[in-house]
Symmetry: C2
Subunit: 206 residues, 2 copies
C-alpha cells in the first residue's frame, strides 16, 4: 500500500461523498453545502469540511461547493477519472449479477474480463462477456494491464485464486469470498460479506 499522510479512514469516506454528489447532480442540483451533504450521508458538516481540507480548498465560505467541480476534484483524488478494467473471477450467481451490473458506468470501472474454472461455464456468455478459462488468467491480465480484480469464487478456492491474481499483476482485490486472504502487504484487499454486516446489526436488535 502506498504510504501517505492522509488517514485511511478519511480516504474511505471520499467515495461516499462522491456517490452523494453524483446523486445530487442527477437530481439537477448544481451547488451544495457541507451541511446538506452531511445530512444526506449521516456525517457531520464539520467532518466533511475537515476531510476535504486534507486535499485542498474546494468551497467558498457562504456559497458552498460547486457540485461539478467537487465531483471532478474527488474523481481526480480517487483516480477514477480514468476507467479501470476489472478482472472478475468466478462466474456463479454473484459473478453473473456483477457482470450484468450497469452501475459501474461513470464511476471509474468496467468489467474487462470474466474467468471461471468450470468447463460448463467457460465459453458461455454472461452480461456480454464470454467466460474465459482460468488458465488464461495471467496472460489476459498482463496483456490488458489489469490491476483490479473482483473475486466471486467459493471460500475454498479464494486464497489460491488470489495468489494467482497477485502473481499476474493484480494490485487491488475486492473479495466476496467469506474468508480472509493472506497476501503480500502491498496488495490492497477489501471484502464484501453480507453476513458480517448482518451480524453487526443483529447485535443491536432487541
Amino acid at each position: 500500500m502506498d504510504s501517505t499522510l492522509i488517514p485511511d479512514i478519511v480516504v474511505s469516506r471520499l467515495p461516499r461523498y462522491l456517490q452523494a454528489l453524483h446523486r445530487m447532480q442527477e437530481e439537477g442540483q448544481n451547488a451544495t453545502s457541507s451541511q446538506e451533504l452531511g445530512d444526506r450521508i449521516g456525517i457531520s458538516a464539520a467532518q466533511i469540511r475537515k476531510d476535504l481540507s486534507h486535499f485542498g480548498e474546494f468551497g467558498k465560505q457562504g456559497t458552498g461547493y460547486s457540485i461539478p467541480y467537487l465531483i471532478d476534484q474527488l474523481q481526480a483524488i480517487l483516480k477514477v477519472k480514468q476507467v479501470w478494467g476489472i478482472a472478475l473471477v468466478g462466474a456463479g450467481d454473484l459473478g453473473h449479477a456483477i457482470a450484468r451490473y450497469q452501475g459501474f458506468t461513470n464511476r471509474g470501472f468496467r468489467i474487462a474480463a470474466v474467468f471461471d474454472v468450470d468447463p460448463h461455464k467457460i465459453g458461455s456468455q454472461i452480461g456480454g462477456f464470454v467466460v474465459q478459462d482460468m488458465a488464461n488468467l495471467a496472460q489476459s491480465i498482463r496483456e490488458n494491464g489489469i490491476k483490479v480484480a473482483m473475486l466471486t469464487v467459493p471460500a475454498d478456492a479464494a486464497q489460491k485464486v488470489a495468489e494467482e491474481l497477485v502473481q499476474a499483476g493484480i494490485q487491488s482485490i475486492l473479495s466476496y469470498a467469506p474468508v480472509p486472504l493472506n497476501l503480500p502487504e502491498e496488495v490492497y484487499v477489501q471484502y464484501i460479506d453480507p453476513i458480517i454486516q448482518l451480524q453487526h446489526m443483529t447485535y443491536y436488535l432487541g
Copy 2:
C-alpha cells in the same frame, strides 16, 4: 439503535472473528490463540484480546481459546444463535444471487421471503422462493415477525421501499442500492456498494 457502552468499532470486528473461527473449525482445529487468529484476519493479537475483554474472559493464559467455546460466546453476543428471517426486496440479478446463496446457513440467517414489484417476476420462483408482490410486504413482515431486510432494488426506488420496510416493522436494513437512506435514527442501516470499496482502493493505485 440500542445505546450501549461497547464502541461500535469493536462490535464491527466480532463477526470477523466469528467467521475466522468457523473456518478454523471447518479445518479441524479445536483451539487457537489471539496471535493466530490475528494473523489470519490481519488484526493485532492485542487488539483482539482488548476487543474480547469488553465481553468477558474467554481464554486462558498460555492455552489460548477453545474454538467451539469462543464461537458459542460470540454467537450469543451477536444474537445469532437464533436464526433471523430476512425479507429480501428486489428480485433482479443480485436478489437472485442472494436468494440462491448457500452461505447464510449456520451463520444466523435465512431468507424468509422475496418481494418485487415487477408483474413478470411476481409468482416466479428463485432459489426455492416464490417472489411475492410488494403489495404483500407489510402484512408478510408483520405476520412473520421479520426484523431484518436486504434491499436489492434500483437506487431510485430504495428510499420509498426502505420507508415501507420500516413502517412494517423492519429494524435493520442491509442495502445494496447505491444511495444513502434517510430513515428514523432507531433503524440500523448498512450499505454494500462495491464501487465505494473499489474507489477506496484505486486511491492507493499508482
